[in-house]
């Protein structure tokens, strides 16, 4: 019997129940998929890092360009070090391929004891020592399509070198795509004589690793880490991106819970007399509340189960299509296998169930508290909504949201920013009855009967209208906030690209990897190419400002100090600086992460020494999330003793075409050794990557709006159904069918207009928090507010039209039955 009482109402309105299930499933699926993908990638990344480190207790790392190998000698001689193994890691450019191959140069005699997985089983030791020989991991062999005996071509500088593939590394799939060769050969090949990029240390037994690391007095730019912590660092690097997606999943779950709440509240109000009858027949308050909560639980369980299955499928598809980092570019070179995490399944499945149960809680308690005698009487359903009227909690939530948006990040995460968004969303939802009543009271009274009846009907029942609106307000608010944020971001990125791409043509030694570069003589030859009026070279490398944080990009550009105001997208005035110190131009992220302001001094590690600069200004940068420091290349060359360059921007003479210059440069550098791009091409590619990155967001927005719209349709439909007797009576007293349709259209239009008005206002407020708090605190970049007015106007018009059609359609269905018989039903 209990089962029938439980299932009956759910099956009575299968569409409504299905909607709740889908909404819950969507939130669970998204959260679970993000967790699965990231968890699998981090796990794979950690395994790869641990395999590379082998039995090492500590790894000392330097910049990608490497550090002096004398440091390796010092480390090897330290007390407590049983074995030290140097390595040179280079992301080598492979002609014709966009992605580089990581080549690891090792000292076979030392690494053989520390990292046996990096050697081929049964390989000739002499092969490992040959200068032109390389061993590939199985993943690299598969990716490159080569086999032992083949030749692999890599680019160093602008020159190509063929390497003999001597064999495959032992079957460690977790290694990812790597090649291993002798360290001496690698140093020579990649022009890094006397430099290493990593030293792995095996400590003597009994040496405390933590103490050893703490006692290391490393040169500037070097860090020491335990290999097992590699995953933690990566986890931290991807955290902001992941947390943002997780929050999006939680918002989806919240919307699902809200939909359950509004559906249950309307359903319970309509079943008020039936529930009162159960009380009259002897059901206790607890049994009534339990029954209604069990309905929510059932919806939650079904939604969570579907969500977990959907999340698994979504994760598989996303990893196939956009990769393990969902297009964010964190996990190049590894191919993770999806690992199902029971903890993630329990967490997100549990959250789905909790959202549904919490959504049912309010209506269940209200129904249980209702006095049966009063509930049996017609018109008592208004009492069910009385508790929704007072707006104070909502206003308090809105106030708390505004206050939270002013608070600083917690552990680099915009915790209060997210709380502000949650509070704004919650506050608006809780204030909906009052806001709806306020808005409806301001609609002028109409003379025409259908419109007048529609307005009076809505005014008398603002709480029901508010309940119908809850899901659509949340969905519209979410969509508008994301639309405004993405539009502001895109517009800002576009303006930024315009500012940072002033040249006519750009030249790059390699878009991926660090083995290709222009030597001083290459630069001179390119400079002499006819048709180039002016050329500016750029050198970049990674430098470590704080061992606890990821490395920042050091950009050294020709002539930057001469014309910074015109050439940099500065976001503040240029500081008057001490002329005795060289000037550094910090990206917005660097200034925010490290707390630098114009006029302050910053120490930058270059060539093993710290060099002091003065911060001359802050510029906007959307390309390097971990921060960038820009200095004049002449100063860099002097301090770092590095005359090579990676990129160049060229201004062409009048009448010269890009194609002419490209051909002339290729004649100097060799075909396919360098890459060319016009500002237009870079802009198009950048914006297409931008749009691809936000594809997930667009899809979620569309899903949220669809669910909100179906939710509104379902709510209007259920209310119209409950009013069949009213329509029957109206038909008796002479109201035309067309007039009832117009009345419902008016109701649908007004409800949707109020919902859209509130949703858009909420979305705009949330977008301000997203732009000025969440984005700033997560990614440390600012953007100019840009409201996509035309897009939003179209969105609102379409939503209004769909809502009106929905209401009329729902009315038609309600009127399809016999209006005459409807008046026979007891009110």
């Amino acid at each position: 019997m209990t089962g029938r009482l439980l299932i009956g109402p759910i099956l009575q309105h299968p569409g409504r129940s299905l909607l709740c299930v889908v909404a819950i499933a969507l939130g669970v699926a998204l959260g679970f998929a993000v967790q699965l993908i990231n968890g699998s990638a981090i796990s794979e990344f950690t395994r790869a890092a641990q395999t590379l480190a082998g039995k090492a207790d500590v790894t000392v790392r330097g910049p990608r360009q490497g550090f002096d190998e004398s440091i390796y000698v010092d480390l090897a001689r330290r007390d407590g070090v049983a074995l030290a193994s140097p390595a040179l890691e280079v992301d080598a450019k492979l002609p014709g391929r966009e992605e580089p191959l990581r080549v690891i140069g090792l000292d076979v005699f030392r690494a053989g004891r520390l990292q046996p997985a990096l050697f081929a089983e049964g390989a000739d030791l002499l092969d490992s020592l040959r200068a032109d020989t390389v061993f590939l991991s199985p993943a690299a062999m598969g990716w490159l399509g080569v086999k032992p005996g083949d030749t692999l071509t890599v680019q160093s500088g602008l020159a190509r070198h063929g390497l003999h593939v001597a064999g495959a590394l032992t079957g460690e799939a977790s290694l990812g795509r790597v090649a291993v060769m002798d360290i001496g050969a690698a140093q020579t090949l990649f022009d890094r004589i006397g430099r290493v990029s990593r030293v792995d240390l095996r400590l003597a037994s009994g040496v405390d690793v933590e103490r050893f690391v703490a006692a290391l007095d490393l040169a500037p730019g070097l860090t020491a880490e335990r290999p097992r912590d590699a995953g933690t660092a990566t986890d931290r690097m991807t955290r902001a991106y992941r947390v943002n997606l997780d929050v999006l999943a939680l918002v989806a779950l919240f919307t699902g819970g809200l939909l359950v709440f509004s559906t249950q509240a309307l359903s319970v109000a309509q079943r008020r007399a039936q529930i009162a009858l159960l009380r009259v027949l002897g059901c206790t308050r607890g049994q009534i509340a339990g029954l209604l909560l069990a309905e929510g639980l059932l919806l939650g369980i079904v939604g969570a189960a579907l969500g977990l299955a959907g999340g698994l499928a979504l994760a598989r598809i996303a990893m196939e299509i956009v990769g393990a980092d969902l297009g964010a570019g964190y996990f190049r070179g590894i191919a993770p296998v999806l690992r199902v995490s029971p903890v993630a399944a329990l967490t997100f499945g549990g959250l789905g169930v909790v959202a549904a149960v919490v959504g049912s809680l309010g209506p269940a308690l209200e129904a249980a508290r209702a006095a049966p005698a009063a509930a049996l009487k017609s018109g008592d359903d208004q009492r069910a909504f009385a508790a929704l009227r007072p707006p104070w909690i909502g206003i308090a939530c809105l106030g708390a949201g505004a206050a939270a948006s002013a608070l600083p990040p917690v552990d680099d995460l915009p915790v209060f920013g997210y709380l502000a968004i949650a509070a704004l969303l919650m506050g608006t939802i809780l204030s909906l009855p009052a806001l709806t009543a306020f808005a409806l009271a301001r609609i002028p009274t109409a003379q025409r009967i259908p419109v007048a009846l529609a307005i009076e009907q809505l005014r008398a029942r603002p709480a029901q209208a508010a309940l119908s609106l809850a899901a659509i307000v949340a969905a519209v608010g979410l969509s508008v906030s994301m639309a405004v944020m993405v539009s502001s971001f895109r517009t800002s990125v576009d303006a930024w690209l315009e500012a940072v791409l002033p040249a006519d043509l750009y030249l790059r030694s390699s878009s991926g990897g660090d083995s290709a570069f222009f030597t001083e003589s290459d630069q001179a030859r390119i400079r002499d190419v006819p048709g180039i009026a002016r050329i500016e070279f750029l050198r970049w490398q990674q430098v470590l400002l704080d061992p606890q944080r990821p490395r920042v990009t050091l950009l050294a550009r020709d002539g930057v100090d001469l014309d910074a105001e015109r050439r940099l997208p500065l976001i503040g005035p240029i500081a008057s600086t001490d002329p005795s110190l060289p000037r550094a131009w910090l990206s917005e992220q660097t200034a925010a992460i490290y707390g630098f302001a114009p006029g302050q001094r910053i120490a930058v590690p270059l060539n093993g020494r710290l060099h002091e600069f003065v911060v001359a200004g802050i510029w906007r940068d959307y390309a390097r999330q971990n921060g960038a420091v820009l200095i004049d290349r002449a100063i860099y060359t002097a301090l770092a003793d590095d005359r090579s360059a990676n990129d160049a921007g060229m201004w062409l003479t009048a009448g010269t075409t890009s194609a002419d210059v490209q051909s002339a440069i290729e004649a100097v550098t060799g075909k396919d050794a360098v890459e060319f791009a016009t500002p237009g091409e870079i802009r198009a590619v950048s914006l297409s990557i931008f749009d691809r990155t936000f594809t997930v967001t667009y899809a979620l927005e569309a899903a949220a709006v669809l669910i909100g719209l179906v939710g509104l349709s379902s709510a209007i439909g259920s209310q119209v159904l409950a009013r069949r007797r009213e329509f029957g009576m109206l038909r008796h007293v002479g109201v035309l069918r067309g007039q009832i349709a117009r009345m419902l259209a008016t109701e649908g239009f007004i409800v949707a207009a109020v919902g859209l008005l509130i949703g858009v206002a909420l979305g705009f407020a949330m977008s301000l928090v997203l732009i000025h708090v969440v984005n700033r605190q997560s990614f440390h970049w600012g953007m100019q507010l840009h409201v996509p007015v035309a897009g939003l106007a179209l969105f609102i018009a379409v939503m209004l039209m769909l809502s009106t059609i929905t209401a009329v359609f729902a009315g038609r269905q309600a009127m399809a039955g016999d209006a005459v018989r409807a008046v026979k039903e007891d009110w």
Partner: protein
């Protein structure tokens, strides 16, 4: 004023049934008639056919000289709006309109000027004993008061025919007696004819004429 000729009605379907068979009825202006009969014999169906809410399978119905069959749905609705007033067993007042607006509804549908509407509503509320209750909401009224509102709404536009389907079915005997008295008084005061469908002998006793509907048609009875 009302002429029902050889009307038959059946409801098709898996359990199809003949409800009315060759029914005839004539009603003069100002006549107050009660129709009694067993449940399911077709009393309410007949009211719906007369009101143009349903169409007979055979036969004709004329109201004020207009054949309902000649009108489309909107035409029948307009005729109903103008010529007929309804009183239901379950009151059926709009819960979101106050008493005055509920009563005013037929006048608004007939596009009577607002000033006239207000005057007529005040007068009608006074006539049905709801003076000063115009701004009350339906949920604040008792069952008897709700039926007074329904009677006021049925008569406010001075229809020529009032159809009352078990108007006292939801009321206690005292309230029922008052409502029946009020209904007859107001119908007669407005010069309208009325058909009162009821199971109650007491209700039927208020009519000028009592008809008993059976499967074979009407038989006349004297009011008791």
């Amino acid at each position: 004023m009302l002429s029902v000729r050889h009307v038959s009605k059946s409801y098709p379907g898996p359990r199809s049934r003949d409800v009315l068979h060759d029914v005839n009825l004539d009603l003069k202006g100002g006549e107050y008639v009660a129709i009694m009969g067993e449940s399911g014999v077709g009393k309410s169906t007949l009211l719906n056919l007369i009101a143009g809410l349903d169409a007979p399978d055979t036969g004709t119905i004329e109201l004020a000289g207009v054949a309902l069959a000649a009108l489309d749905d909107d035409g029948r609705t307009r005729l109903r709006r103008e010529k007929i007033g309804f009183v239901f067993q379950a009151f059926h007042v709009l819960p979101y309109l106050d008493v005055a607006h509920n009563v005013e509804l037929p006048l608004a549908l007939l596009e009577v000027p607002p000033k006239d509407r207000a005057r007529r509503v005040d007068a009608m509320l006074a006539a049905v004993g709801l003076d000063g209750r115009g701004t009350s909401l339906p949920r604040e009224l008792s069952g008897g008061e709700l039926q007074r509102v329904a009677i006021a709404r049925a008569l406010i536009h001075e229809p020529m025919l009032v159809l009352a389907d078990e108007p006292t079915g939801n009321l206690d005997p005292d309230n029922a007696a008052q409502i029946l008295d009020l209904l007859r008084t107001r119908v007669k005061a407005g010069g309208a004819a009325a058909i009162l469908v009821t199971h109650s002998d007491r209700a039927a006793a208020t009519a000028d004429r009592v008809l008993r509907l059976t499967a074979a048609g009407f038989t006349a009875e004297a009011p008791k």
